[in-house]
Every structure is written in structure tokens, then in C-alpha cells.
Amino acid sequence: MGKKILIVDDEKNLTTALDSFFQSKGHDIYIANSGDSALGFLKKEKADLILLDLSMPGIDGIEVARTVKKSYPGTRLLILTAYSEEYKQKLASIEPDGIMTKPFGVLTLINKVQELLGEQVLITPQPEGAIKFKPVKILFIDSSIDYAAGYIIKDYVLPYIKLSWSRNIEVEAVSPHSSSAIHEKITHFKPDIILLSSVLSMQAKNLAKEIEQGLCKPKEVILYNMPDEEAAKESPLAAYYDMQKSLMDPDYLDRLNELIKDTALKHNLIDKTAFNREKPRLPAESIKQFTVDDIANFVKNAISEELELKGVTLKDDTSFIADLGVDSLQTIQLTMALEEVFGIELPDEDVAKLQTIGDAVNYIKEKVNLEAFTKRKKSQHKILIVDDQQGMCNFLENYFLTKGYRAMSTTSAKKAVSMAAKEKPDVILLDIRMPDMDGIDTLKEIKKQAPMSKVIMVSVASEREKDAQQAGADAFIAKPFPIAYLEEAVIKKVKELTS
């Protein structure tokens, strides 16, 4: 609920700016340009908070402050002044609720106001039809997407980079192996910065040529994982970064992240307020939470084309991998990928032993403690966020990722239904107003496809709570909501599932 704020200052431009800003946050704002008019207002109306300048014509701020503290004890008083040094003693005797010395940062002021009003920071989703500002788009082109190590990019690198930016970023990844897929991705996504993994340097070179010839117009292409310096010199691209280490190495990832930030700043795509000061907290072990089934799936994805060609029918367990032989190059690539995922030191003599995928998987089984991975996996719950606002999706996905959930999101209701069927999330946060399908219909479809998933409906349309309940919603939360409240609801639903 909006609060009454009285702003007392003779700087008209300042009061106008604060008036507009706090009004946009739902508060009722009153302006007084002198001490006399401030006291006149207080005789008629009660204010929750007064922002008071000290140096004013007529009755000065000190006098107003004294009167407020004496006659209006329920009103909070925040002094805004450039004279805090000069009025130190007088202010000490008045004991206002806060003093801010000019100049002060906007965010510092907002935080102080929120603190004095006893407000929690609310999520305020972008209103329907708000002017949307162009996000910086970053595209990873990495051959490992096709392999087991693709998890490193998807589950570790992309969330890490997203978390280190506070706003205005979209990060996606694509494999360079399918020319049509990459062309489609580049044409639609229109990246500002491309990160090109060049382990397979011929592909990188060809792609670089196509980009130079106008396939797209990124501000910069950054090469990483170059196979050797010689290959980098031959590259028509501008940059070579000697980063031969795995993306799993936190130092490496930090350097890459810094490089992306510097590039974005250099090209004026963003200002530095877009970066979070604290380093993202994404536990490295989070990507190592694989089960034997996961290995099977990696292998399955990595060799899907071969399987199709051979007409192999997969059993619903892992035994197929031991029976299937593939060519040695594929094996080595796959083994390298698994090596990155599981962090196994693989001596050259052992690589020669691995002639089949089955060999590779058995080798990994021997070297790592799969039981431990399995246990960790069980402790992590999946959450799917479905909201038509990309900003809301990004915010909640990042929030729940940092809380240890396997979070994923989509802005499409239809896609949400297929994701629910495939991923069987523990909890789904579903917005009622979706562009491609009504949220209640989406809920019914989801309940058919993933009956065990707990669905929390989230909407500004609180009048539809009954409809949602009748359609099988497990909870309903009205927007706007404090994030802690939403998290509590998710925890409750997860407990219901596990109890």
C-alpha cells in the first residue's frame, strides 16, 4: 500500500524528480517548497515520512524538524542536507530518523526511504506494454554442446555469466556442427558478442569467414579454447586468448567473464552499473551431479546420428552403451568431454584403451564415485518458471539457481507443457496471463503431462484464484509478492512432495 511522503526542498528540479520516482512506486507524494508550507500541510494532513532540506527561505529546516519531532511523533523524518557539518549539534538534539549528506546516490536514498517506511523490496514486474530496452546478447558457439561437456556450458557457464550481470543480458549457446542450426540461431538471436570455441579450428575459420562476409554483425567475436597459438595466428579473427584450460576452471571462467564485460563496455553496449559487485555464487560441484542415467543420456545425445544410421533401438537402461562401437575419433571426443565433466586425469596410454563408448563409460565408472554423485543429485529439486515477461523469468531463474534448485524457464505456455512432460519438475511457477495459451488451460495440460509436479499459479488477476484451484493448482500467489514469500511457498511444495 502506498505511503504519504512529504518532500520539503526549495530545489524544484530535485522535488520533481523524487515526486515522479516515488509516485511510480505507488506512494502519495506532497511537495512543499518552504518551511512555512510544510508546517501548513502537516496541520491538515498526516505524513508517514518527511524528506526535509535544511536550507530554505522563511522558516528554516531546523525549525520544521523540531516541530515535526515534537508534534508529529508517528512521522518519520529524513534530513537531506549539504550542511550536515554546520548543523551537527542542532541535529543531534533533534534526533531525526536519518540524515543524508548531499550529494548522495539515488540507490542509497531509495534504500533509506524503504527502510524508514518498513518496506520489503518488492518484485515489480514490468507492466504490460512497457517500453522494453534492448538487452546485450551473447552467443556461445561451442562444439561441446553436442557432448557431455555441453552441461558445462548450459548448467555452469551461462548461469554464472547471467548472475554476474544485474540486468540487460541474454546468453545462449549453440553447436557449430550443424550449419543450418547455427545460421538460424545467428539470424534470429542477432548476437552483439560471439564467443567462439575453436577446438576444431577449420570450423571456426569457416564460421569466422562467414561472419566477416556478413552472416551477422556482432560488435566482436572472441575466440577461446584455441587448439594452439599457430592456429590462432592464422585465424582471420582479431583476438587470441591463451585459455587452453577447461571452462570448469573458476579462474578461466572469471577471465572469460571479465573479457565479455570489457567488450560490452568498450562497445558502449552497457554501463558498469549493469554488473553485480559480488562474484556469482554458483558451486562448481553443481555440474558434477550426474547419475549413471545421465551418462547414458550424454552418450545417447552424442551419438544420436550414428544410432539412427545403425537403426539401433535403445533400451531404457544403460546396457546399450557397452554393446555399441563407434569410430575412434568420436570416442576420443566423447572421452575428452567426459573428462572435462568428471575431472578425470586421462593418461595417453589409457585413451588408446578406450575403443568404444562402453569402454569410456566403464572407465569413468571406475574412476569416479558415482554413488556420491547420485546422492547429491537427489538433494536438488527442479523448478520450472513460466512467465510471459523475459525479465521475470531471468530474475526468478537466477534467484532459484543461487538457492540450489535446478531452475529453468520459458516465456511460452506451449513450451512449458512440453518441458513439464520431459523434465517432470518438482515445482512449476505458472503465470496465468500467457500470450500463446491461457494459464488455466496450460495448467490442465501440465497436470495431464506431469501429474506429480506441484503447480503454483502466479498472477495479478487474483479474481482467477478460484478457477485456478478448480483446475488443479496446488497454490495461488498474487502479484506483486515479496520474493521470500514465493520461496517459502516453493519450499512448502517440495516438502509435500518428499514427505
Partner: protein
């Protein structure tokens, strides 16, 4: 000196708050797509107001400069503060010009990010000017050359 100093601090603080709050409003999606005129008006008003505050602020800075030289005879002690302020003022001026350029081009979709970037940059530079002015005030008080109210 006291009045002069505070007047300049107020000018830069106002520029900082005007730009910072508008940038936050834009980022929070306050302005509707179907009424871009509202945002355009806010930006137009903002530019006019910054123009006024900024030109007055620069004149007052020049007065402080000459007062430190001719009246207080302490320019060499305070020169580095003024140099820092002047460089922030230059950067602020550059960012302000680029904001005005974007608005002249009237390209709210393609230059939208650069509008927010300029607003935050002006906010940051104006805040920096105010902070250094406060440091200058502190140095003058310490040296006993500050004339209090």
C-alpha cells in the same frame, strides 16, 4: 564561500538525482510502449533542466576557482581537487552531449540502451563532482581557510 560551495553541491546533487531516478523508472518499465510521447517529454524536460543546472554549476565553479586563487590564496593546496572536478565535469559534458544526440536522432528503440547508459553516466559523474567538492570543503576546514556561515 560556504553558500557558494553548497549551491554547487546542490546543483550536482540535483543532476545526479534527476538522471538516476529517471533511469530507474525507465528500467522498471514505467513508460508504456503505446505512449512513447510521455518518455520523450520526460527526457526533453530533463535535458532542459540539466542544461540550466549545469551551466549555473559551471559558473559557480569558476567563482570558487577564482576565490581560491584571489581571495583565499590557497590555489596550490586545492588545485588537485579542482582538477578532479573539472575532469568529471568534462566527462559529464561528453555524456550529456551523447544523450542529446540520441534524443535529436529520436531513435528510442535502437538507442534505448545508450539513453540509459548516458543517464547512469551523468548520474555517476555529477555525484563524483559533489563528492570531491565535499572533500575540498573538508580540506579547507582543516586548513582554517573555510569561511563558515
Amino acid at each position: 564561500m560556504n553558500e557558494l560551495m553548497h549551491e554547487v553541491i546542490n546543483k550536482f546533487n540535483t543532476i545526479n538525482i534527476m538522471c538516476g531516478t529517471l533511469a530507474l523508472e525507465i528500467e522498471a518499465g514505467t513508460f508504456p510502449e503505446n505512449n512513447k510521447a510521455l518518455l520523450k517529454k520526460r527526457l526533453k524536460d530533463l535535458v532542459e533542466n540539466i542544461d540550466k543546472e549545469f551551466s549555473q554549476g559551471k559558473m559557480l565553479l569558476a567563482e570558487i576557482d577564482s576565490m581560491l586563487k584571489d581571495v583565499l590564496h590557497c590555489y596550490s593546496e586545492t588545485e588537485h581537487f579542482l582538477k578532479t572536478i573539472k575532469s568529471s565535469v568534462c566527462l559529464l559534458e561528453t555524456r550529456f552531449s551523447s544523450l542529446k544526440d540520441d534524443l535529436t536522432k529520436n531513435c528510442y528503440d535502437t538507442a534505448a540502451n545508450s539513453i540509459i547508459i548516458s543517464l547512469h553516466a551523468i548520474e555517476e559523474k555529477a555525484l563524483a563532482c559533489g563528492i570531491v567538492l565535499n572533500e575540498l570543503k573538508g580540506a579547507l576546514i582543516k586548513s582554517g581557510k573555510y569561511i563558515k556561515k
